[in-house]
Symmetry: C2
Subunit: 199 residues, 2 copies
DNA sequence: GCTATCTTGAAACGGTCATTCCAAGTTAGT
DNA sequence: ACTAACTTGGAATGACCGTTTCAAGATAGC
């Protein structure tokens, strides 16, 4: 009986993700969203609710579609430190060149804003961090089993270290950090964790 | 002949720093500044100019009064890796407890916002990064001279690594990261850089 | 005490913010 | 074709944004 939506909510949300990602939440107005998506306020509010709910939905979509797949392939990669190195290679490439260059990471950016006061947002940040750390841990456990880790290295602590390093890469890339310098830094980190038999 | 200011611009700026630091720039209105400082719009604009100039001044004050002194004492500390460890200890303590707990770092937060589009802000971020890296480097060169670094460790790359780690600590602490976990991570990082003769 | 020069208080500026409302339009089942 | 249920366009909401303006007040040198 009812009328049906004249747009694809998923495509709209993807547009919103990119808006918040590039410009930040606080500096992006509902008018920007209306202009970029082409739909009007009524449809926007009826579909997603207000701005904060829209931001939460964007954050969820970002982690679902971008973060988690990358974490999954890292966790499943059986090559140990090589897997970690390639994860960072892809990250740096995506952050410094191409369509999303200098956008950083939506989740990392969210840490710095005032929007992390929202408990639901905070929970998403924590979940994202845990998933990143766990993926690193899986790769490091594999590396350890293959004798790639330096003696006495705690995979758990090293996983947390690499996760924080990823935050740093995301942050600095947004301010224009040089890709070569970031690559060098990651290489140094991995070398410091590795037994010197592999490099 | 003229009248003289009825307030201390330096004290006002310190109040503004804390406002921007805690709440973020985008979410802090001029009205918030007026309320927090007690002075009115005329005096505010006559003394500091508009909001963007006020923010730039706050950033300069933050780096002058908070970042740079910490960097200086790190660079001058002759104990090598121990100096680095204490730098991070102080950082984590300041970020997770006390008056500024969960505020993160004003400069790190600035990376994520839209305000880094301002060339002058961008320059401040780059300068801050360089000073942090240089301080780390000085400590690491000292460590190397004392045989504290693992063979084959490049102090320059390691300095950059530790700088990025500091960004990660600042970011995650703002989202409520546990101090103990951060300490553990820093310890793991330093251990991975150290020759196993010292711990 | 007068004056030149600055500061201060308070109101007002146009613009943009997120959100709401409602009449008109569209659809699917009867 | 009629209707119930929903969507859409577009205007309107009041609140707040950063900034400007200007008359009144305060100060230091004469």
């Amino acid at each position: 009986m009812p009328d049906v939506k004249h747009f694809d909510p998923d495509a709209v949300l993807e547009t919103v993700v990119r808006l918040f990602w590039r410009q930040g939440v606080a500096t992006t107005g509902i008018q920007d969203v209306v202009t970029a998506t082409g739909l009007n306020r009524s449809s926007l509010y009826a579909t997603f609710g207000g701005k904060q709910e829209l931001y939460r939905a964007a954050l969820r979509r970002y982690t679902d579609q971008r973060s988690r797949p990358a974490f999954r392939s890292l966790a499943q990669d059986q090559r140990g430190l090589r897997a970690v190195a390639e994860f960072f290679d892809g990250l740096i490439e995506a952050r410094c060149a191409g369509e999303h260059a200098r956008w950083g990471c939506l989740v990392v950016n969210a840490h710095a804003g005032a929007e992390n006061g929202d408990p639901e947002v905070r929970a998403l940040l924590d979940q994202h961090h845990q998933e990143l750390r766990d993926a690193m841990l899986a790769a490091l456990v594999t590396a350890e089993a293959q004798g790639q880790l330096a003696a006495g290295t705690d995979p758990g602590a090293a996983a947390e270290l690499l996760a924080l390093l990823a935050y740093g890469v995301n942050l600095r890339s947004r301010a224009g950090a040089d890709a070569g310098s970031l690559h060098m830094t990651v290489t140094a980190a991995l070398q410091s964790l590795s037994s010197r038999t592999v490099v």
